[in-house]
């Protein structure tokens, strides 16, 4: 269990190869169950279509996790999952129509609700004490870091789009 005691243990990793696969698959299944009512609220899909769509996404995650664990080189599981998602929906593949049909109606915004709900619960004492110690100056600097990165990226992207098109 992750209970951070001091900053030294607090090199949070976005991912972890040593995470037991069975536990991940079980927790992933619970998250999928939580997503069923959310999709029913967010979309006009029937229960059957929601179940099929979420099952397809579950299968993608499982493939990604297997690749994370057994591939000869390391990529974070989210990168593998993303790559599997791309590979299964490339328009020139024979399974494209079938697979795309399954997942296309699933609402992406509703899928982002459970992770943020877990994130709110996971805020630890250590994080709150770092926040208090850092104070409002770091808060303002942090906000400027986010705005700077976002606007910087958008400006470069905009410029490149105009140059290349």
């Amino acid at each position: 269990m992750t209970a951070y005691e001091s900053e030294e243990d607090f090199i949070p990793s976005s991912d972890n190869r040593s995470l037991p696969l069975g536990t991940s698959l079980r927790d992933l299944a619970v998250v999928m169950l939580i997503s069923i009512p959310l999709q029913l609220i967010a979309t006009d899909l029937t229960l059957g279509a929601v179940l099929a769509g979420l099952a397809a996404l579950y299968a993608l995650c499982v493939l990604g996790l297997l690749l994370t664990k057994y591939s000869p080189f390391y990529l974070p599981s989210v990168a593998w999952i993303s790559l599997v998602g791309i590979a299964l929906t490339l328009p020139f593949t024979p399974w494209f129509e079938w697979f795309n049909e399954l997942v296309t109606g699933i609402d992406f915004l509703a899928l982002a609700v459970p992770p943020l709900a877990y994130a709110g619960l996971a805020i630890s004492k250590l994080e709150l004490s770092i926040m208090r110690r850092s104070g409002w100056k770091i808060l303002i600097v942090a906000i400027l870091v986010f705005i700077g990165t976002y606007v910087g990226s958008a400006a470069i992207a905009e410029f490149m789009l105009q140059v290349t098109s």
């Binding site: 269990m1 900053e7 990793s13 991912d15 995470l19 619970v30 998250v31 999928m32 939580i34 997503s35 009512p37 959310l38 979420l54 996404l57 599981s77 989210v78 999952i81 993303s82 790559l83 599997v84 998602g85 299964l88 929906t89 795309n100 992406f108 915004l109 899928l111 982002a112 992770p115 943020l116 709900a117 877990y118 994130a119 709110g120 619960l121 996971a122 805020i123 709150l128 770092i130 926040m131 100056k137 770091i138 303002i140 600097v141 942090a142 400027l144 870091v145 986010f146 700077g148 990165t149 606007v151 910087g152 990226s153 958008a154 400006a155 470069i156 992207a157 905009e158 490149m160 789009l161």
Partner: protein
């Protein structure tokens, strides 16, 4: 079975997530018009606030019914819960692969947008707040996990640089989604940048930041949802590949060099630190 035991131990967490998520989803997207654009409040932000208010570390009395040890188990579940979302993003990149490839040069170069922090945040940290070397850790990147690893490796987390990066990391964890949702919705509704450029920029941070950012864009321009998620997803995938290198080989050396130029006499500078120690 061990697995069943932990599942039983985790059920209060899952139950809280289920209930708060449903309430958040029913509330849906709320728009607050302000002068220069519109701020869009998304279900994911509501869910985050609800569970923050049920977190015994934040609201002490909750500890009587929900122990802090129990909620600590929610931490590894964040990565698991974000996976289906990332999978869905992947499935929007595939069908739009031509558009993504066409946007290739823009996608690659916007990874350098990171350096925008040096223009905006660094001067404020140095000249307005008179911060020391913690400013190096704070502004060299958006302070997600790989960046913390870099700073930990080079300076250690108890150093001033470590304090800076941890500060921004924690602020990002607590407020990052809000900041991203707010800037993205204001920029999308004010029409300064094209929606494609804004979508690519959504990929620069963590998964939750991307969710908040692309969610705000999609709510502002629903007809472009598919290309927003495809471009944001491609940019985020690219960030996993390149983000760490931009930070390690470009941003950090640059910030370090500018700092040495502005504050050559800071006793905490590595050169001066070494000089003080007897040989």
């Amino acid at each position: 079975m061990e697995s069943m035991k932990t599942l039983v131990r985790l059920w209060p967490i899952h139950l809280i997530v289920l209930v708060t998520s449903i309430v958040a989803q029913i509330i849906g997207v709320r728009a607050i018009p302000i002068g220069i654009g519109t701020i869009l409040l998304l279900p994911l932000l509501f869910a985050f606030v609800f569970t923050l208010l049920l977190n015994p570390n934040v609201i002490k009395p909750i500890g009587r019914v929900l122990s802090t040890r129990r909620v600590a188990a929610a931490s590894p579940l964040i990565v698991i819960a974000i996976m289906p979302f990332i999978a869905k993003f992947g499935t929007t990149i595939g069908p739009a692969i031509e558009e993504v490839i066409q946007a290739g040069p823009a996608l690659l170069l916007q990874e350098l947008g990171n350096l925008g922090t040096i223009l905006l945040a660094f001067p404020v940290a140095i000249w307005v707040f008179r911060m020391g070397r913690e400013s190096i850790g704070a502004v060299h990147s958006i302070a997600r996990e790989p960046n913390i690893a870099i700073i930990a490796d080079r300076y250690g987390l108890r150093s001033p640089e470590g304090t800076g990066v941890m500060g921004v990391y924690v602020m990002g964890t607590l407020f990052g989604t809000f900041v991203f949702a707010i800037i993205a919705s204001i920029l999308a509704t004010s029409g300064v940048f094209s929606i494609e450029a804004l979508a690519m920029a959504c990929g620069v941070g963590s998964g939750s930041m991307m969710a908040a950012c692309s969610g705000a864009l999609a709510a502002a321009a629903p007809e472009a949802t598919d290309s927003i998620t495809a471009l944001a997803g491609a940019s985020n995938l690219l960030t996993y590949a390149t983000g760490m290198y931009v930070s390690l080989f470009i941003a950090l050396p640059l910030v370090e060099r500018i700092y040495l130029r502005i504050r050559p006499d800071d006793p905490d500078n590595p050169r001066n630190r070494a000089a003080e120690e007897p040989v």
